[in-house]
Symmetry: none
Subunit: 146 residues, 2 copies
């Protein structure tokens, strides 16, 4: 289970450290792709395989399906750790998520998310006030305690 928040930097060559805690789960090869928000997702290969499985079942004759597959896969790439535990960030993805120097890497269960530090700050302060409400909303039909 991927969890936690780590602050790191991207060097001038476009390389970013993958925090040591995540390396065991991710292995040395994994998938990096555009997130739905203004961030990057990082999936272990097996988790990503489940997603592509799903995508395959979508008909390429449907416009929405084509758009979505295009959006999702065009942003995806398999990357490999170097001996220092870093990856080279693909430029289009860095641009998409406005990543420059300071970034935040967070674990969200089955994937990682990489945010620009400023974007993360903004997102976080904006959303934290809504959390109580969102929580009620998500679990309104549920009797479960947590």
């Amino acid at each position: 289970m991927l969890m936690g928040e780590f602050h790191h930097s991207i060097d001038q060559k476009g390389r970013m450290i993958i925090p040591a805690k995540f390396r065991e789960t991710l292995g040395s090869n994994f998938i990096i792709t555009r997130g739905i928000e203004k961030c990057i997702y990082i999936y272990p290969k097996d988790a990503f395989a489940q997603i592509t499985q799903k995508l395959k079942s979508l008909p390429f004759t449907k416009k929405n399906a084509r758009s979505f597959v295009r959006f999702f896969l065009s942003g995806a790439l398999e990357v490999e750790l170097d001996k220092q535990g870093r990856i080279l960030l693909p430029e289009p993805l860095a641009k998409y998520a406005s990543l420059s120097k300071n970034c935040v890497i967070i674990g969200t269960g089955e994937r990682l998310e990489v945010w620009d530090e400023d974007s993360w700050q903004t997102f976080f302060t904006e959303e934290q006030d809504n959390m109580a409400e969102i929580a009620e909303d998500l679990f309104q039909d549920s009797d479960e305690r947590w």
Copy 2:
């Protein structure tokens, strides 16, 4: 699986690089044809064979079927990599997709798509906002996580 986004240029002789990452999957000979959107599709030979197989099963008595087959096959052409890993873009296809100098090559699973940089930019910004919605829509019947 063909994935990723690469920005390259077409030189004055009409040649375009096929990114190194794709060459293994494509082999040295593959099929290039008109895309459904304003772009060019590139298929490995075997994937293209499967598609033509499907097209054959369409009833040629249906007007739409005839149109589609005509559209799809009239633009299709087998091309070969030169020793530098480039292909020579057939002029009618370049024209169809408004390809001039700067182009974007994206992997979308079983095929590549080649877009003019401006067209891609336009498509992308237009669709970006719909993606979250489309995603919810596509996966609404699913219990799976992704």
